[in-house]
Amino acid sequence: MLQQAEILESVLERYPSKPEYLIFMLQDIQADCGYIAPESMEIICEHANVPITQGYSVATFYQSFRLEPQGEHEIKVCLGTACHLKGGERLVENLERKLDIHRGETTEDMMFTLNTVNCLGACAMAPVAVVDDEYISSTTPAKLDKSLKAAQQQ
């Protein structure tokens, strides 16, 4: 059941068996697969000589590590100060309704994952949303619709 088998192999070969390399290994898997599967966590922790609970603690501590399969497209809506004032929350609610999921979740067809972030550093463009790598400035529900449709066509 190791769907992350190939990347795991290269990770294990690249990093020595030491606890210091735990985060690097987790980052590599995260970058390649979008999330860290339970089996991968076990293998990485075993390779790094740390108990699984420690790997899990580290992965849950940082926002950038995900433990569940992500959708093909990630939508990040900024809820930082500027974006919050400019209605970021409403954008999130709108997406939640449209996609029928809560923030942090993935749609059933595994197409979209909706996440909120604390700041994207693009406050001049508030409210900001990012679909995959595309930054949308002065986001509106209509712009989001267009962007999601374009993503689905890919």
């Binding site: 339970p38 699984i52 609970t53 899990y56 603690s57 849950t60 501590f61």
Partner: protein, 201 residues
């Protein structure tokens, strides 16, 4: 041999001892919650705070982790300490309203209610980490750990699923100061499969 004072009484200690250990050895009681003799101290709950005075100024230190030092003056029952303890209990009553042990302890220190809003009236875990330290240091298995951070920090097994690493020894349940582990252990230990007959041939 290190000589210092607790409550104006001279006490003797060896290097490496903590203020709390020394105080207890001399029969001076300091309240604690996240401290247990069987595991290493963490200084998380801050209930063991004592005042360290140096001339005119003083600072608060966590006695469970503060190492003894020559000539320091420690005070365990001052107005400031009293205040600190009451604040801590008020915060605990808001964070962990469902623990009878905390409520009882708070009453002993004169705290019956809290001015802070209660987020979850059923919460009984104060995230002191004693259970995780017990599993790591006494049992050696690290079946549970602290996950997430900030207000979402909680105790559990990886992926919040029962884990076969847990051997259900109950050390975490025994060491838990609030009784929360009695509830949490059920989502950590695995219920064994009912087989009844394996016979190694």
């Amino acid at each position: 041999m290190i000589t210092f004072q607790i409550n104006d009484t001279p006490v003797e200690a060896e290097p490496g001892w903590t203020v709390l250990e020394t105080a207890r050895h001399y029969g001076i009681e300091i309240p604690t919650l996240c401290y247990h003799e069987a595991v290493s101290p963490s200084g998380a709950c801050r209930l063991c705070m004592v005042e360290l005075r140096d001339g005119d100024w003083s600072k608060l230190v966590a006695s469970c982790i503060f190492p003894v030092a020559e000539g320091i003056r420690i005070y365990t029952e001052t107005e400031r300490i009293d205040n600190v303890r009451r604040w801590i209990f008020e915060m605990l009553l808001a964070e962990v309203p469902a623990s009878p042990e905390i409520r009882e302890m708070a009453t002993q220190y004169g705290v019956e209610s809290t001015r802070f809003s209660v987020k979850d009236p059923d919460e009984d875990c104060m995230v002191c980490g004693l259970c995780t330290r017990a599993c790591e240091e006494i049992v050696g298995l690290s079946a549970i750990s602290l996950m997430s951070r900030g207000v979402h920090k909680k105790v559990g097994a990886p992926f919040s699923r029962p884990t076969e690493v847990c051997v259900a020894c109950g050390c975490c349940v025994t060491i838990c100061p609030t009784g929360a582990m009695r509830r949490l252990i059920e989502s950590v230990r695995e219920t064994p499969e009912v087989t009844l007959t394996p016979l190694a041939v």
